[in-house]
């Protein structure tokens, strides 16, 4: 049986690799993200309510909304989890005792394999498509409304904004370098529907992507990515983001050499689940906002 929304929000970590990584990206959007965990705590923080009977009603309504599959919340959660759950060989267990100490990347070089540009590009663009699809499932806008999604990006804040910042930094700048947008667009251009079909993440979320076949789905992925390039570029330019700047901030918890950025990208990919972590926070927030308004 899948986990309840209470278990998912209560189970969010306060101190693991994902949280360390997101904290070290605070320099991009200072003070915007705080690691909100715990179902009841999230109700109190989001609503600002102190009345216990209201908190009880909000929690119960949120549970009913989440458990009602027709409302799309479970689908959104599944998307956030699935896009993040590729090979996690170095996951929580192997790194559990490393939190709090600085991890030398050198020790993991033989355990991670940098991805080829195509696989890396598909990863990056699929994460973006999942953001768009989950946004629509959570907020209720029709599933292929790219324009609505792009407009709402301007209003992204908190954990949603942090997720996008991490996408740009960890899945864009680190593996591809400063011109990651152009590189990803060019690689996507050279990717065939057959190559897309071989990607395991695509195989998992395939049925959720609009389009009648792999070619039209590839097209949708390209359009989605293209539509947010302006937003991503603005973020990079306005914050002066470079791979070096990102890496120097990550140095707080991981020791990296500048010529090993492809290994760093592969290491972060298998040791963190920032999409699932912040996605759970976004979903809980929206669910609670709806519940408190409806009771």
């Amino acid at each position: 049986m899948s986990k309840s929304i209470i278990e998912l929000v209560d189970g969010l970590s306060t101190n693991n690799m994902t949280v360390s990584m997101l904290r070290s990206l605070d320099f991009v959007i200072p003070g915007q993200w705080n690691n909100l965990v715990g179902f009841e705590n999230t109700i109190r923080t989001v609503t600002g309510e102190i009345d216990e009977s209201i908190i009880q009603q909000v929690g119960e309504r949120a549970i009913y909304l989440y458990n009602d599959r027709s409302q799309g919340y479970q689908r959104a959660m599944w998307l956030y989890q699935t896009v993040d759950s590729t090979d996690k060989a170095l996951g929580a267990a192997a790194l559990a005792n490393k939190v709090g100490e600085k991890i030398p990347l050198l020790g993991f070089l033989n355990k991670v394999t940098p991805k080829a540009d195509k696989a890396q590009t598909i990863d990056l663009t699929l994460k973006l498509v999942v953001e768009l699809l989950a946004f629509c499932q959570i907020n209720g806008i029709p599933g292929d409304s790219i324009g609505d999604f792009v407009n709402s990006l301007a209003d992204y804040s908190g954990e949603s904004l942090m997720r996008m910042v991490a996408l740009v930094c960890v899945d864009g700048l680190i593996p591809f370098g400063p011109d990651f947008i152009q590189k990803a667009l060019a690689t996507l251009d050279k990717t065939s529907p057959q190559e897309l079909e071989k990607n395991s993440t695509f195989q998992n979320i395939n049925s959720d992507i609009p389009g009648s076949n792999s070619a039209s789905k590839l097209n949708f992925i390209g359009e989605s990515f293209n539509s947010v390039t302006g937003w991503m570029n603005d973020l990079v330019v306005s914050r002066g983001l470079t791979p070096q700047k990102v890496v120097s901030n990550l140095q707080g918890f991981i020791e990296v050499a500048d010529d090993k950025l492809d290994y760093l990208a592969a290491f972060l990919d298998v040791s963190t689940n920032y999409y699932e972590h912040t996605g759970t926070q976004t979903l809980a927030r929206r669910l609670i906002e709806r519940a408190v308004a409806e009771i």
Binding site: I54, E60, I63, D68, S70, Q71, G140, E289, A293
Partner: protein, 171 residues
């Protein structure tokens, strides 16, 4: 002899361990939301929103318009529910919402004891951050503060800016 005693000790140890572990399980207090989780989880779909609930897109036109330094950003639009954020200078001030109480009759029931009216509709204060009116015995319109500077009187003023009469004719 020693062997026997050792066995006794071992049995005693095992028994106390058993007692200890069962005591641990027994004392786990049930969470305040466990019952709701259990009841709602018995159905797969349709337990939260009524079939006949009005689509959220129908509600958008009754929201107050953005004006002056206030911005209105629509955030959610689901069956039986629509919500927008009220912002000023980039800061969230309040949430504005319309919901169909067909899905949640208890939400409408609280207005039965209402002693106050806004534009002729029964109104209640909910908790410490919300003010609500019930329109046409069915649609709940709420303003929820998201900043301490946004007071109960601000909530009332913004409730009056909704097209409540128009909404009452929707059903």
């Amino acid at each position: 002899m020693f062997f026997r005693q050792g066995r006794k000790i071992l049995v005693a140890l095992m028994l106390s361990l058993l007692l200890f572990t069962t005591a641990c399980t027994a004392t786990k207090t049930p969470g305040r939301f466990d019952q709701a989780q259990q009841v709602s989880n018995q159905q797969k779909s349709g337990q939260a929103v009524a079939k006949e609930a009005t689509q959220g897109s129908e509600f958008n036109r009754f929201f107050p318009a953005a004006s002056g330094e206030f911005q209105r950003v629509y955030t959610q639009e689901k069956k039986g529910f629509a919500e927008a954020k009220l912002k000023k200078d980039g800061k969230d001030l309040a949430m504005l919402s319309i919901s169909d109480t067909k899905s949640l009759p208890t939400a409408a029931a609280k207005f039965k004891t209402s002693t106050k009216q806004i534009n002729g509709y029964p109104a209640v204060e909910v908790g410490t951050t919300q003010t609500a009116v019930l329109v046409g015995d069915r649609y709940q319109v709420k303003v929820l503060s998201r900043d301490p500077s946004f007071t109960a009187s601000d909530r009332e003023a913004w409730l009056k800016k909704f097209n409540l009469n128009g909404l009452s004719k929707l059903q």
